[in-house]
């Protein structure tokens, strides 16, 4: 069982030891955590991916301990929010053992952190990860000499390829037994303690490295160098990046849409030929509720699971390859002029999966202006939940070829909205944060890792989608049928009244009362929109599915206007909540929600009115 914790605290189980994994960013802490426990931590070749604590149970030779995955820290005295999470943790939580993870091939600089932890007097153990890369790059490490100098156990492992994990487990058990004599301690006076030793740190490090490590005379990563020559090319780098992204999108679309349609047809068939006859004896209103509400809603959304899987498969490959840091390098000059930096761009890209982790990812930034401005633009990233709505609408209102263009256009608009917002508000959120970012070597994603990631995302989506849809469908159904005795979904029902109430505002952008109800519920989560539409239209449509019912009442211009609005307004309540907790400002949160609503309305208004002028209906 996994707990995702806020930085406040940790579930300490009496009688179980607490083992913390500490290391610099991108050294494979989360990989080790995932390999040792059955938990699933998010892994990627991007420094600063983990920004919060994660805890899971680990069984060691019959005894269970709590293993805690921490964000990476460059320096125990660092001041960004993710580093503060680690410091607060060490200062407030008694740990029985610290497992220090270093990237073996970069031991020349990472040893510093091991010395700092040692300085704090915590019981510790050093795992040199990425043994495979160290070997490939020609870094030789004399483990005994290193261990003797550090006075700590040192092991060489490769977490990704599962090498040395058995020994690592054994060493952790042994170290825990050795440490068991004293009580677990938290750190006191971390700052003062470290400052005192700072002066001698460099000398100590140099002498240890001299004694225990041999470095190659020359940089040996020919692969990274050769790839970078093209991928970071001053002129071709960016075009290559966008071509790669467009091809990825094409592949997902080309593979995913037929799958989605086939699955959708299957589910429709099931509902029509199996479920409807089976429930024939039920009272009509209950049958309508189950068939046209729950089944149609859940069915429509489940058809998208293959697309989501493919999407996160592609995302996992990109994240794990190391290309994201290159994207930050390529885009930094442009982002700098928007008052942002390369990291904001990468986080926006991650936002195309889901906005929530992307917003959490801004913790790597220290300047509050930069963080807030990034949080303001990330919600415009077209996340996978919105993608479902668009894929569905596009397939109803357009031919496959036009549909692909419409969706591609929505992706472009998503970038445009972010750029426009940044330009407009960069003056209010000024920052002078320096940008120093590691460019890790390219790494080949492993198949199990990428599959596990995509699978976890699909499960997550399915879990929430089901809950949201059940909730949304029940509420919309009630709104449609209350007060008692009204014709379902008529203007007299609650939903009808709600729709009519907002008409003065939404009629000018082509949103009819029924679509309005879907948008209102979409505020909670975009997963509800399709399910909601299914109930709203399903109840009145005789058969032929949601698509027919929609197309008979809504023009393609209205549909596009609806998509534009859906793209730009508040993505979901979770996003609002995480903006609130991360910015710690109510005013900013309200501003962010209002701005997205205003922008959404303006864009839809311009589109709808222009279309009207051109005589398109």
């Amino acid at each position: 069982m996994t707990h995702c914790l806020d930085s406040a605290g940790l579930v300490q189980v009496p009688g179980q030891a607490t083992v913390a994994v500490v290391g610099m960013p991108n050294t494979g802490k989360s990989t080790l955590f995932t390999q040792l426990t059955s938990a699933h931590a998010h892994i990627g070749n991007w420094p600063g991916l983990t920004v919060d604590l994660m805890q899971a149970e680990l069984t060691l030779e019959g005894r269970s301990v709590q293993l805690v995955d921490l964000p990476g820290i460059y320096d125990l005295r660092g001041h960004s929010e993710d580093e503060a999470v680690v410091r607060r943790f060490l200062e407030s939580t008694p740990v029985d053992l610290v497992v220090i993870i270093l990237n073996a091939s970069q031991i020349d600089r990472q040893l510093r952190l091991a010395l700092q932890v040692q300085q704090l007097g915590l019981p510790a153990l050093v795992l040199l990860n990425m043994a495979d890369e160290a070997r490939r790059f020609g870094v030789g490490i004399d483990l005994e000499a290193l261990s003797g100098r550090l006075k700590l156990p040192v092991l060489l492992i490769s977490a990704k390829y599962r090498q040395g994990l058995g020994q690592a487990r054994h060493a952790i058990t042994k170290a825990l037994l050795a440490a068991a004599s004293g009580p677990a301690t938290s750190v006191q006076d971390l700052e003062a303690n470290l400052a005192a030793a700072d002066a001698d740190l460099d000398a100590a490090m140099a002498s240890i490295l001299q004694a225990a490590v041999t470095f190659p005379a020359q940089w040996r990563d020919a692969l990274t160098r050769r790839l970078d020559r093209w991928l970071l090319h001053p002129l071709l780098g960016l075009p290559i990046f966008f071509v790669v992204m467009a091809l990825m999108f094409q592949a997902i679309y080309a593979l995913g849409v037929p799958l989605q349609e086939a699955l959708g047809a299957l589910i429709d068939g099931f509902s029509l030929h199996v479920l409807t006859p089976a429930l024939a004896s039920w009272p009509p209103f209950l049958r309508a509720f189950v068939v046209d509400g729950l089944v149609l809603g859940i069915g429509t959304v489940s058809a998208f699971l293959p697309v989501i899987f493919l999407f996160f498969l592609a995302m996992g490959v990109v994240e794990d390859s190391g290309y994201l840091s290159r994207a930050a390098f390529l885009m930094d000059a442009f982002m700098e002029r928007l008052g942002l930096d390369g990291r904001s761009f990468v986080l926006s890209l991650m936002g195309f999966g889901c906005n929530v982790p992307a917003i959490l990812g801004t913790r790597v930034m220290r300047s509050s202006g930069l963080r807030l401005l990034s949080m303001l633009i990330i919600p415009f990233s077209l996340c996978s939940a919105r993608l479902n709505v668009f894929l569905f609408m596009a397939s109803v209102f357009f031919t496959p070829r036009q549909g692909a263009l419409v969706i591609f256009g929505l992706y472009l608009l998503s970038f445009a909205a972010a750029i426009f917002t940044a330009l407009l508000f960069k003056g209010r959120f000024a920052s002078e944060e320096a940008l120093v970012l590691e460019l890790p070597p390219y790494r080949l994603p492993t198949v199990p890792q990428v599959l596990r990631r995509a699978w976890a995302e699909v499960r997550h989506f399915w879990f929430w989608a089901r809950r949201f849809i059940v909730f949304g469908v029940v509420s919309i159904w009630l709104l449609n049928n209350l007060p008692f005795g009204v014709a379902p979904a008529s203007a007299q029902s609650l939903s009808g009244q709600l729709g009519e109430l907002l008409q003065p505002l939404l009629a000018p952008i082509g949103i009819n009362p029924r679509l309005t109800v879907a948008l209102v519920f979409g505020f909670i989560a975009k997963e509800i929109v399709l399910g909601g539409l299914a109930v709203i239209y399903g109840q009145t449509a005789s058969s032929g599915g949601l698509g027919h019912a929609l197309a008979s009442e809504v023009s393609w211009v209205q549909a596009v206007s609806f998509m534009l609005f859906t793209l730009l307004y508040t993505p979901c309540l979770s996003t609002v909540a995480v903006i609130r907790t991360e910015s710690k400002r109510l005013g900013f949160t309200v501003f962010s929600v209002l701005w997205s609503l205003i922008l959404a309305w303006l864009v839809s208004f311009c589109f709808y009115q222009a279309a009207w002028l051109f005589g398109w209906r």
Partner: protein, 69 residues
């Protein structure tokens, strides 16, 4: 060769943790377009650094002259 870091303590810690510290050799691999960041190699690590920030790192050429980003 880096000779001094003329930066705020916060950034100094970060640079040192990434290996940029006095006495260390650095190599410029490339410069980004549109006065974008610089791609550096320090020891076994590659990193990017904005030019404005790089200006605060005093780097001396083999003959002792200062290098400008």
């Amino acid at each position: 060769m880096v000779s001094a870091l003329e930066v705020a303590p916060g950034l100094r810690h970060r640079l040192e943790a990434l290996g940029i510290k006095p006495g260390q050799q650095v190599r410029v691999l490339r410069r980004g377009w549109w006065s974008g960041p610089i791609h550096l190699r320090v020891g076994m690590t590659e990193l990017m650094l904005r030019r404005v920030d790089a200006a605060h790192v005093v780097v001396l050429e083999g003959d002792g002259s200062r290098v400008h980003p």
